[in-house]
Symmetry: C2
Amino acid sequence: MLAESSRLSVMNFLNEAANQYPNAISFASGRPAESYFSLERWLTAISAFQEHAAMSAGHTLLQAGRRIAQYGPTAGVINALIARQLRIDERIECEAEQIIVTAGCQEALSLAVPALCRAPGEVMLARNPTYIGMTGAADFAGVEIVPVEVRTGETWEQALGRIAAELRRTGKTPRGFYLTPDFDNPTGTVLTEAERRSIVAGCAEHRIVVLEDNPYGMFRFEGDAPPRMAALDDVGCVIYLATYSKTLCPAVRVGAAVVPKRLFGSAAASERLRAELSERKSFVTVNTSQVTQALVGGVLLTEGCTLAGLVQAPRSHYRRNRDALLDALDGAFGGREDIAWNRPEGGFFLRLSLPFEFGRQETAECAREQGVIVMPMTFFSLDSTRRHEVRLAFSNAEPAEIEAGVQRLARYVEQTSPRAR
Amino acid sequence: MLAESSRLSVMNFLNEAANQYPNAISFASGRPAESYFSLERWLTAISAFQEHAAMSAGHTLLQAGRRIAQYGPTAGVINALIARQLRIDERIECEAEQIIVTAGCQEALSLAVPALCRAPGEVMLARNPTYIGMTGAADFAGVEIVPVEVRTGETWEQALGRIAAELRRTGKTPRGFYLTPDFDNPTGTVLTEAERRSIVAGCAEHRIVVLEDNPYGMFRFEGDAPPRMAALDDVGCVIYLATYSKTLCPAVRVGAAVVPKRLFGSAAASERLRAELSERKSFVTVNTSQVTQALVGGVLLTEGCTLAGLVQAPRSHYRRNRDALLDALDGAFGGREDIAWNRPEGGFFLRLSLPFEFGRQETAECAREQGVIVMPMTFFSLDSTRRHEVRLAFSNAEPAEIEAGVQRLARYVEQTSPRAR
């Protein structure tokens, strides 16, 4: 299955483009901005966690330090601090006992997909287009992933009912639904509260577990945030996925899965799922590095279990970049009816729709001829649709680059779509 | 498959026993001795790696620090340092390009097993009994694991030929052979150089990839070390698995897989295998934490890429414990023909054979009635054999405890096997 997948070759392709055209301006990488990483300072926070662990367990500092360096519980040691941070920052009511700390959110996906889809014919649902890491996790587990598209006039609940029925007719059962309700990668879109409630209702009805991924939620620039789906979930169908890769930095490789207190109403089912995730984790990474858990735990302790302070500066940076990108797009394409883009209120990405197909060949041409690299949306598409769209990441660039990059892209669009004008 | 497995329940069972009888002396845990962990000092070595990375790439220290905190290459950033350490400490000739840095050695197992056994009927071989993490990785991947036992008068090469032929008759193909040639967990035994050569010959003939796991090789107390199998491998059939969990500490969660330069003679096949392991890793943990890679890299730099100095003190500790255990066993069981044990020249474990079956019930009885916890060998057995054996871990105890623990075990043996005397 992996041999047929093109995920790694996508990454190779983009890396090659970046290497071949080192002066190209890139809208391809959705990495967080590096200038706000404070790794050296955060490393000193490990001692704050060590003191906290010593106090909690009645150990000496030396004992607590040794415990940190040793093997530890599969589900993690900073679960209570994460629960507190999620209550404060995301308004998600949860307890330490619901949490499994993972080696980044990607590990949580790679554990959850095979745990949910165990029997042949059990499949995952996902919005289309979707995050490449989800498709990879499903490929790795040998699990099919089915796109969910809402038809005009349909609610999410109705769409889920229709798709579940269609799948049933072919002997398949949807067991999970992966989505990023806030500032989705790759589209930058946000689901409304009504949409979230409709999804929860549909999932409850068809016993589908939502995997709510939320890497970008704390990077909202303006407007009111709808509640997290986990906060709306009164039936116990949402596994919330947290990560510190964007709020702190990717190198900590610390994420978490929060299992509902009562999975579809059953505390025992919830406990079984958490035990299964733990068992699977024990055979993949044993436990998440306690060095980096202690780092994240120490930062949470010193910040009063909220990251609101830490994300302020990078959020302003991303906002400035989003503004620069929207201004540049307005300047370059304003008034054209054959080119459209969304205006995300946060996150790292937006979606641009062009009057011609934009695939591998166009990506290479655009990099070679105009010196700008973008991500074709087909790379994220589950069914080869979205051929006219590209993803623009604005997280990791400077406004002047963004301005120049859009001008270059505009030149490529001019030369490629003369008849469309 | 995981639902049927008893691996986690084994661990739960032992944890419960330990919790229920907190004053029991435990020979169950093979954790490294904590008193030699120098986490605080090792954390300061991160800056040594940062300086090295800045120098190598022509970056400022600030840039290098930010690169460490960012996402990084899937295969790792300390590969050249690991290659140098393996050349010095293990006499394995390898290059950075052969290495994938993993989130502990367990991740390497969890990637290698499904990468080797892709088609239905492709199975893993393992010595019997074997490490629980290997059985877990195979369960997780849905791959069957077949025990390799050498019959009297047979060489390893012949045994592998016989088993490959037996498997072929049932439509199965052995693709990998997991083993720990040095101070095996759970038995503490070592394969001779002749045995290693015979295994390489058999694996070359039947195109079986050896997974050579070596967590304990640097803890040899006396005698000459046979060459590592990767150092004897002139056909390109050995993937060497390294870990820093025992030489440094488990909390770094840094291990590595070293793919042969030419897999069965083919550089292209080797490159494909490494690319496949990398792709799989990218969908499980993205990349190994660069915080802990920098820690391990920094320690390697400050130690001149050898861990010989660092392991001296813990090795003396393990040797003293091994001596205490052998003395205690000689004192308690010396002269009894129905009780036997091996005398390992290193490592963390030995195997004790008893005149009666020792399973779950006996473990619980022994903990409750005599206050000593041991690991039944059936927990590691692939075919429910080894019913009369237990594993004794001597890594994580004090000599006085070891002495008292063996006396307690002797009392249990007395009361349980009256007719055997």
